[in-house]
Symmetry: C2
Subunit: 480 residues, 2 copies
């Protein structure tokens, strides 16, 4: 039951977020530091995310496989940048079966190394390429500060790992998978992400370059929501993955990796949620419609439940995910609040008058009050509901896009940039600075380069920081 | 490519099994002791198993959730039998984030303890019951001897965990979930499992009693393929899980747990496989039909591929999982062997003559040679293929049931029992022995009580071992 009021976003966004996660029953705290229990409602959301992504992975020719949870410590050390990036965060098994292990086993923080070792066995000739593998798995990164879904010691994710014959193919794959993430985020999760490239300072440990989808949360902070890495031949060389090409020459393969995690649940919460609770996009909502029957006595109850059962079957037959709230000990008002907290896109009320008139009331979660409520005939109800769900889906995306656009500001000087960041927006400006310049800006403002957006103005401009000529614009923001 | 011959089952079953697992590309060895890499073909089989079970779990009111991979060592110690059973097999994280942990974390061997801790928070009143949770997860048990899928250090599984208000409801749940497993095994995996109860010696560590589905492999050894445990109030008391009943009294809940793992993949291999390779039941086969186009030159190729593309689309539109084998550098004969090795239920051959006549050839994997091959018109092909897939599914189940029944022998004396076990069959006889008697029999014959079958003869008989009066029959066999 999740009917209590929450802290308003404007008062304390961070507190609001934690309350929503627990009160909407997405997750619960666990006795293990930094680990979350994902409750059924949160897990169903994750299942919807998985299915939306998995369908897209398979449509682009990828196959799922499963690799060991444990990685021999020596494997991680083969790629120098990689081990440097991950070693502070590792959880290490030193005892197994009652004995100390000769070589400690690392609980995977990501699986490049163990998967590249397999690729070395599997790849002999150009005929074995491209090799397109995805894994759904849990990974562990021992983070100092954790936040539900956004940064947890253990999290669930998918990690794609592919090998290609040429640099061009690897680059095309890296871009394709970023497009897949963006397509999912925009069309299923209704999050208007911005696609771009990470700066060298922010790229994945071991990558040549990293692409990212960046989303703006309701507190105007950025959330990196999915990344796709072009690994060049770094891992191929570290693991000796060669193939015989069509001219009988040995060549190193080119590899990529890309991942999206349960962090996406946090992105959905913080992109769409309001002071009444979650607002879930219909395409990923565990329940798209909640039906609340309304009656005062047993006679009314009989008539209402008969109608409700008929409607439930019709909607379910049209593939609409419904929840019929039959709880006897709770008032309709309590149920309304409860389902608003849990973000169900459409609420259907059916009372004795509706039975009489052959109508139902439909209330949209995305438009509060009377404006979002309508009475519609029971006839052709499924078609009307499907239409309404599409409208809610589109409106959530539009609202988020409007919010994002209103809070990205073009800047031409460092002072202006600092002001934007201070006020909580994203700063967009020409950039020709170094990694050290980025570090200085982070120290002074808390903001980092989220990405160099793929969408760039033509020509060149003057860097807002160095004053030098710059060939691309960067997006700066504070981030999770 | 998997066209090499395999060791015959009759020569060395164990070797046959390992060869099939690797040559049919279900799995690969990994550099981590006892851990397997599940390759795409094996993982797709697991996805089919998952989806067949998950559908049944949800239809019986269960919800998925996810709990931490790590369990504080102290949690495991709360239920005395439980910790005794699992402590020799634990993998333990002692270092995380570069520091020694104050309390070591165990990598879950099963999740009763961490889930019961959550149930304690979630359950307050009788209204919160029953609580019906399932988790899909990886678990780790540091086994001394490992075998692909049958016993691996890390494996994938589902574990159900439920809490109930009464002993009767918990018992009904324990039985229901065993029925769910049996229904899946028989109807989807075509494995004619026998349902029964484990002896006290063989039950789960911490359970009041354990139910099991037992399957006979082609070497006549038994494989425990899924278990459902009635945990009574053992865990409720160890973790203090109480609810307030309708009379405002505190009561301990009654809990169950039940699990089925990637071991089921091994069960499918060893129930149906033959000397040519895998034989997959259509309901779980990654590909139900493989289409092999046959041509000698480009003209033939054009006409054949046109027909094949049309047929592929038609079959796919009817929900049939097909694989079109377009590989250019391999002969049809090589492909036939390859797909026989990989156990695809139906092979479809399309050559120039078929194009001319409007026919295709369909070859069943379950009936070798000409007897299993037929030429059918392209008209209404999807319907014919669906019918054929049903026939293959039914035939695999029938063959396995016939084999099982032919190899279970009634015994009335220990000598007779020993003879049956020596010859590799299962012995069925009246039993009134003790746990020590079971241990003696295991020492002397290698056989254990697989279960007391639910299906029992009426009345009583004389125990084949003790000579005393016995009220139930037991099934003895050597087991994996």
């Amino acid at each position: 039951m999740a009917s209590q009021a929450v802290t308003p976003q404007s008062e304390d966004f961070s507190k609001w977020y934690n309350e929503i996660v627990y009160k909407a029953e997405l997750a619960d705290q666990s006795p293990v530091r930094g680990c979350l229990i994902i409750k059924p409602y949160g897990y169903e959301l994750w299942e919807a995310i998985k299915s939306g992504l998995d369908r897209r992975f398979k449509a682009t020719g990828h196959q799922n496989a499963y690799f060991p949870l444990f990685i021999p410590e020596s494997f991680l050390k083969r790629e120098a940048e990689h081990v440097e990036g991950f070693s502070p965060e590792l959880a290490v098994v030193t005892i197994a079966g009652g004995k100390e292990l000769e070589e400690p086993l690392v609980v995977r923080p990501t699986s490049e190394t163990i998967i590249m070792d397999a690729f070395k066995q599997w790849i002999q000739s150009y005929r074995d390429l491209p090799l397109l593998i995805n894994q759904w798995a849990n990974v562990v990164r021992w983070e100092l500060r954790t936040r539900p879904f956004l940064r947890t010691t253990e999290f669930l994710w998918q990690e794609g790992h592919t090998a290609h014959a040429t640099a061009e193919e690897a680059e095309a794959e890296t871009k394709q998978m970023l497009d897949v993430y963006a397509d999912f985020a925009i069309n299923d999760a209704a999050i208007p992400v911005i696609k771009g490239k990470k700066s060298d300072r922010e790229k994945f440990a071991g990558a040549v370059h990293t692409y990212t989808i960046e989303a703006m949360m309701r507190d105007k902070k950025a959330l990196q929501s999915g990344t796709s890495h072009n690994l060049g031949q770094n891992f191929a060389k570290a693991f000796g993955i060669q193939y015989v090409d069509e001219n009988n020459q040995y060549q190193y393969v080119w590899t990529t990796s890309w991942g999206l995690s349960t962090r996406m649940i946090g992105a959905i919460v913080m992109t769409h949620g309001d002071d009444k609770g979650l607002r879930l996009p219909p395409k990923v909502a565990p329940y798209q419609v909640v039906i609340v029957p309304i009656y005062k006595n047993d006679t009314e109850r009989g008539a209402v439940m008969e109608t409700v059962d008929k409607i439930s079957k019709e909607l379910a037959a049209h593939g609409i995910r419904i929840y019929l709230d039959k709880r006897e000990n709770l008032s309709p008002g309590f149920k309304f609040n409860d389902w608003e907290m849990r973000g169900v896109p459409v609420r259907m009320e059916v009372g004795p008058k509706d039975v009489e008139k052959g109508t139902v009331a439909l209330a949209r979660r995305d438009i509060p009050g009377k404006e979002g409520k309508q009475f519609v005939p029971q006839e052709n109800l499924a078609a009307r509901v499907l239409e309404l769900l599409n409208e809610v889906q589109a409106n959530l995306l539009q609202q988020a896009a409007d919010f994002r656009d209103a809070n990205i500001h073009d800047v031409t000087s460092y002072d202006q940039m600092k002001q934007v960041i201070e006020q909580g927006g994203w700063a967009r400006g020409w950039w020709s600075g170094t990694g050290d310049d980025e570090a200085q800006i982070k120290d002074e403002t808390g903001a980092t380069i989220r990405c160099f957006p793929f969408e760039q103005p033509s020509g060149a401009g003057q860097c807002f920081f160095t004053g030098q000529s710059a060939e691309r614009i960067a997006l700066f923001a504070k981030a999770y």
